[in-house]
């Protein structure tokens, strides 16, 4: 036996449920272009058909009692999030590498007519010209100027690279701040979610916001996320509070603890040479807790931060400065010191046009942090180019030492009287520099290739994710029509019930009167 007015109730429920669905559709359309938005859907639920009666087990009616809007759920695949964040870490890492390497390439500026190779070749030509005209003061001035150009280029390269390192270091600071701010925001969201979920609510907007933050976080470092169930009576589809841990650092570092709403901020420590020494994780609100410290050498969490650290330079396991910029700078230093030592030695072998003994052509401070930056042509030579020792035997017309000097660039290490450290016997200054540039080219090329690879992978995952979660306007339009029609039909059914009741109440039992 169906209650008289249940038809009205069924229609009413249908109206409000379709309305809820329409509003959700509207919400989806409105957020079609919102970053990090996940499309939502209303879970329609049939209303239980069990009706109350005086029989203890109740009476099961065959007729249903309509629909109700259950929870509103986000359509999202957590597995794709994990994939996306992994790719995003890789992309962040290689992007930083590629960017820093591109800057290095711009500074080295090879092959071109402004690079060190060209300056050295010009200097060598000037020395050859001097050898044909050793008595000419004009060719002597040219030699001293071109020699200065070589020294200038060395110190320009060294200081410019060092400057980029400084920029990279401040970029690390900025990234650190961003990282910590994201952690605090995630923690705040956890708190909000934790206060809402116990009442059975599903805060989709907060989940979206948290996922968006986790995406940004994963670009900086590789993190993994687990979820803690809220207390009370959370909905079955409630996500819970997120606990974020940092991966790849040799031990577990909890960045955000969803259970106790605590957050560990990161602090990057660098030494006086701008090399990253360690990463410290500590709770900003609880100074009594022991901070976790991770040495830079053990920090292997793929992401922007690691990319920046490796480019800027860090202290490796042996306490040495590592990183590609450091390598390039120390190669330049080695090259400058070896070149100056050999050039000066050959220079002192010759004799100049003055009565004074031949001195050094170049000055350099091998004990300096960056010797290449201290390279210069000695004051004596700048002031008096006659002091350039072009002659081997003494007379002014002899230019053979100038030839020897011009050959220093292509002279093999094995032929040096005092072999320089680290250049290798079969190497000349020129070929050492060529191999430096070649290596830089290979590293940069590799970084660029990895950026595009990681980019393609990330895009693919992003596509899969969009395929699941993004708003399709066509779909929403279709749904809108669907729900609108259902709404209209529900209204019509209510009218039918109304007419039915009208018949019963106003027109029944009059027996044809």
């Amino acid at each position: 036996m169906v209650s008289t007015f249940s038809g009205l109730e069924v229609a009413k429920r249908a109206l409000s449920t379709q309305q809820a669905a329409l509003y959700t559709t509207s919400h989806n359309i409105a957020n079609a272009n919102t970053e990090g938005y996940t499309r939502q859907r209303v879970n329609f639920e049939q209303v239980s058909t069990l009706s109350v009666s005086r029989y203890t087990e109740g009476v099961k009616s065959d007729i249903g009692s309509g629909v109700q809007a259950g929870s509103i759920e986000r359509i999202r695949d957590r597995f794709l999030d994990v994939q996306y964040r992994n790719e995003s870490s890789k992309l962040g890492y290689y992007e930083q590498r590629a960017e820093a390497m591109a800057q290095m390439e711009t500074i080295m500026n090879e092959p071109s007519e402004e690079g060190l190779a060209y300056t050295m070749s010009q200097f060598s030509d000037a020395l050859q010209d001097l050898s044909t005209n050793p008595e000419d003061s004009g060719s002597r001035s040219v030699v001293s100027q071109r020699g200065q150009a070589v020294a200038d280029t060395f110190s320009y390269l060294s200081t410019s690279l060092e400057q980029v390192r400084g920029d990279l270091n401040s970029q690390i600071d900025v990234t650190e701040t961003e990282f910590n701010s994201i952690l605090t925001q995630i923690n705040n969201l956890n708190e909000q979610i934790g206060s809402v979920e116990p009442h059975g609510h599903v805060p989709n907007d907060l989940y979206d916001e948290r996922d968006r933050l986790l995406d940004s976080l994963s670009a900086i470092a590789n993190v993994s996320v687990s979820y803690e169930k809220s207390s009370g009576q959370p909905s079955e589809i409630a996500m819970g509070k997120a606990t974020v841990t940092l991966n790849g650092v040799g031990q577990d570092v909890t960045l955000v603890d969803g259970n106790i709403y605590q957050v560990n901020h990161m602090e990057v420590t660098s030494n006086e040479n701008n090399n990253v020494e360690s990463f410290t994780f500590s709770n900003p609100n609880d100074t009594t807790a022991t901070p976790v410290t991770i040495d830079a050498a053990d920090y292997a969490s793929t992401g922007e931060l690691k990319g920046l650290m490796e480019m800027n330079g860090y202290v490796d396991a042996d306490g040495e400065a590592a990183g590609y910029y450091n390598e390039m700078l120390s190669d330049l230093d080695q090259m400058a010191v070896a070149f100056v030592a050999e050039f000066n030695r050959v220079h002192q072998n010759g004799s100049n046009l003055t009565d004074d003994a031949t001195g050094d052509f170049y000055t350099i401070d091998p004990a300096a942090t960056r010797p290449a930056a201290t390279m210069a042509v000695s004051e004596d030579i700048i002031n008096d180019p006659k002091r350039i020792a072009a002659s081997l035997s003494g007379p002014s017309g002899d230019g053979e030492n100038a030839i020897e000097l011009s050959n220093v660039f292509s002279k093999l290490q094995a032929d040096y009287e005092v072999p320089a450290e680290g250049l290798g016997n079969k190497t000349s200054i020129k070929s050492f520099y060529e191999s430096m540039i070649g290596q830089m080219g290979v590293v940069t090329q590799e970084a660029n290739r990895m950026v595009s690879n990681a980019g393609v992978l990330q895009q693919q995952v992003e596509e899969n994710r969009s395929s699941v979660s993004a708003v399709s306007l066509d779909e929403e339009m279709t749904n809108m029509i669907k729900f609108q029609h259902a709404y209209n039909a529900a209204a019509r059914s209510m009218t039918a019930v109304d007419e039915m009741l009208d018949r019963i109440i106003n027109n029944m039992g009059l027996v044809g009167r």
Partner: protein
């Protein structure tokens, strides 16, 4: 797979940007004429390129050195030519003077000519080219190789016979001057002076010995010139070789790093049409949605 509007727009943007970067690459290649602009474009080409550039510049430098070599040799040669002519004249004068038919006054005249020729020869020995003494070994500046007193008598002859050497190819140095001591020796000037004294003396000295000494000096000069000539021939060979080297070095450099313009233009044109197609496809794909067909 469910495809949404945002996927289409994102994809299209991404593809357009990669298409743009391709266009940029070809434009770069066209405007610079080089295959690569950064070492990372192709590290091997970059490294080789640096090496080839040095080779090209080395060859150019050696060619410049050669012009200096020619300068030295041509000047030395023409001066030695003059020297030979002067010596020939001296010999003729010695022959004339020795036949005994000349009177004292006539012998005086001959002596005067001899003195003039001696001065001429001193001038030749002291020749300066670009401010350098060419007959003084490596002592090219400073005191002149032959010094004379107020009366025109030779007081000193420099003894610097060192070779002035210029590098003409990698590791090969060539002597560019002549060994002055073999021609303009102290004896050379003393002999001429002795000839002149003999002419001026009242006694009818036998001048035959002077013919012989002049012959010796002529021989010396000719020998030195022959030696120089041989070296000049060698320079010519080297010049030819350098020219070939210059061509091949430039060719290697160009093969290595110069862009093949036809190829790049074709690629650019292809890329352009791909880009156009992408744009027009984008405008078609993105625009219509179900909304456009609902009334």
């Amino acid at each position: 797979m469910r495809v949404t509007q945002s996927m289409l727009t994102n994809n299209m943007l991404k593809n357009l940007s990669s298409s743009y970067s391709n266009l940029d690459k070809y434009m770069d290649q066209l405007s610079t004429g080089k295959k690569i602009n950064r070492p990372s474009d192709d590290p091997v080409i970059a490294m080789k390129g640096m090496n080839y550039r040095t080779q090209v510049s080395d060859v150019e430098q050696f060619q410049r050195n050669i012009s200096e070599v020619n300068n030295w040799m041509d000047n030395s040669d023409s001066q030695l030519d003059e020297t030979t002519q002067a010596l020939q004249r001296l010999r003729e004068l010695a022959v004339q003077g020795s036949n005994g038919t000349y009177e004292d006054g006539q012998r005086e005249n001959i002596a005067a000519e001899v003195d003039q020729l001696k001065e001429h020869l001193i001038d030749i020995a002291n020749t300066e080219v670009n401010g350098k003494y060419i007959f003084n070994g490596t002592s090219t500046t400073g005191e002149a190789p032959v010094t004379v007193d107020e009366d025109g008598n030779v007081t000193g002859v420099s003894t610097n016979d060192d070779a002035v050497r210029i590098e003409v190819t990698d590791g090969t140095k060539l002597q560019v001057n002549v060994t002055a001591g073999n021609v303009f020796s102290e004896e050379f000037f003393k002999d001429i002076e002795a000839f002149s004294t003999a002419l001026k003396s009242d006694t009818d000295e036998d001048l035959d010995s002077h013919i012989a000494t002049m012959d010796t000096h002529i021989n010396n000069t000719v020998n030195e010139r022959a030696d120089l000539g041989a070296r000049m021939n060698r320079v010519e060979l080297i010049v030819n070789r350098l020219e070939n080297q210059s061509i091949s070095a430039n060719k290697m450099m160009s093969d290595n790093e110069d862009a093949d313009l036809e190829e790049v233009i074709i690629q650019l044109t292809t890329q352009e049409s791909v880009h156009r197609a992408a744009l027009s496809a984008g405008s078609r794909v993105i625009q219509p949605s179900l909304l456009d067909f609902l009334s």
